[in-house]
């Protein structure tokens, strides 16, 4: 059994191996008849709501610009034209990024049964280790503002959602994010307009 355990297959070796890109879209939406999109110049990374005031936290421009450029380039190569938000765009593209940290711990302790003195007991302190990983998600959402009037809550449903998830490391390799953006568009050929 030890031998079997020793030769059990390995699995992922690098953090990039865990990177995934997921996309889904509204099959009933007619992407082909649209042509313009608007997108903010910043990427929201966090939202704080304090006593009714909403404050957005944005990604540092040196990272955000690279990502936004990649998004714009991919949209343009699918036939879209970027316009300003007040120029009545057909669709809105809203990027966001977020991270979450998961902590896990393992521990062990020993116990004794004191036959002479009677009773049970634990050896203290427990030995434990804490580990963590931080997963980052890049979200791209496309929505058609003209659909809002058809919704009872005056909001448009997403017509396309892309989520790229990967493990974050201390070393910020922006190409992992831009690669994920390119992949999101590559696996969504239905976004192409005329």
């Amino acid at each position: 059994m030890v031998l079997l355990g020793a030769c059990y297959p390995n699995g992922p070796e690098y953090v990039e191996d865990a990177d995934v890109v997921a996309t889904s879209y509204d099959v009933k939406y007619d992407f082909k008849s649209q042509s313009t999109f608007a997108m903010p110049d910043q990427i929201v990374v966090d939202v704080e709501i304090e006593q009714g005031d909403t404050t957005y936290e944005y990604m540092a421009p040196k990272f955000a610009t690279v990502i936004l450029d990649a998004i714009q380039k991919d949209m343009e190569s699918l036939g879209w034209e970027r316009v300003d938000i007040d120029e009545d765009p057909d669709v809105l593209l809203t990027p966001a990024a977020m991270s979450s940290t998961t902590y896990f711990y393992t521990y062990w302790y020993d116990w004794w049964y004191g036959g002479w003195y009677g009773g049970w007991g634990w050896y203290y302190p427990p030995y434990y280790t804490v580990g963590s990983y931080t997963a980052g998600t890049m979200l791209l959402v496309l929505a058609d503002p003209s659909q809002a009037s058809e919704s009872p809550i005056n909001r448009s449903q997403a017509i396309w959602v892309a989520a790229a998830n990967g493990l974050l490391t201390g070393y910020y390799d922006i190409s992992r994010v831009t690669d994920a953006v390119h992949q999101a568009f590559k696996q969504s050929p239905y976004l192409k307009t005329n």
Binding site: L4, P9, G11, A18, D19, A22, S24, A135, S188
Partner: protein, 200 residues
């Protein structure tokens, strides 16, 4: 399958072997098992498995007929290159790590063609269950599918006697676990080439 159960099975097999190995009507085989996936398993993992072990115990009831049982473990593994998987309107791109663990537990009947000769060809049929667990790992998640299949395993092989106590064992098995349940809901099958020693 929990590792405790695996241990119990193996200890039981070893126990039978240790207690009765002096009697000539026992035939206990430990072999290294190389497995080639077929059918649905081959679609999931195309690679040959070099991680396998098999135990076969046979008790001779007539000169050339033996009954016994067989247990094995064959682990298949393949890391797929980054690829896109699409279901309906959802597409997912990433690296996949695929695992399939197979543990057959079978009762067997064996016919030895020339039990008195040093070279003993045999044919065998096993009937029982195949526990199959399939894992697909992607990102931080694993999708796990399990099944306990009704299984048939025809086998052909040969044993070459080295002494009164031991023989070289070589056999080819075809494991077919019929479709079972609604989790891993297709038949699981593979060929395995088993090389090992038989102890009398």
């Amino acid at each position: 399958m929990p590792s405790a159960m695996k241990r119990i099975i193996i200890l039981a097999l070893l126990g039978i072997c240790a207690g009765t190995s002096l009697l000539a009507q026992n035939n206990f085989v430990v072999s290294y098992s190389i497995a080639m996936p077929t059918g649905d398993l081959n679609t999931f993992i195309g690679k040959t498995s070099f991680r396998g072990i098999a135990f076969d115990y046979r008790y001779t009831v007539r000169d050339n007929i033996a009954i016994g049982f067989s247990a094995a473990m064959n682990t298949f593994y393949e890391s797929k290159d980054r690829d896109t998987y699409t279901v309906d309107n959802i597409s997912l791109t990433g690296k996949q790590y695929r695992y399939s663990n197979n543990i057959p537990l079978l009762a067997t009947a064996t016919y030895f063609l020339s039990p008195e000769e040093p070279l003993k060809p045999f044919v065998s049929l096993g009937i029982g269950t195949l526990y199959s667990r399939r894992n697909t790992d992607m990102n931080l998640y694993t999708i796990q599918l399990e099944a306990w299949n009704f299984a048939l395993q025809p086998e052909i092989g040969v044993q070459y006697e080295l002494s009164d106590m031991t023989a070289i064992h070589l056999s080819l098995k075809y494991m077919h676990g019929f479709q079972a349940g609604n989790e891993l809901n297709s038949a699981q099958s593979y060929f395995s080439l088993n090389v090992g020693f038989a102890f009398f």
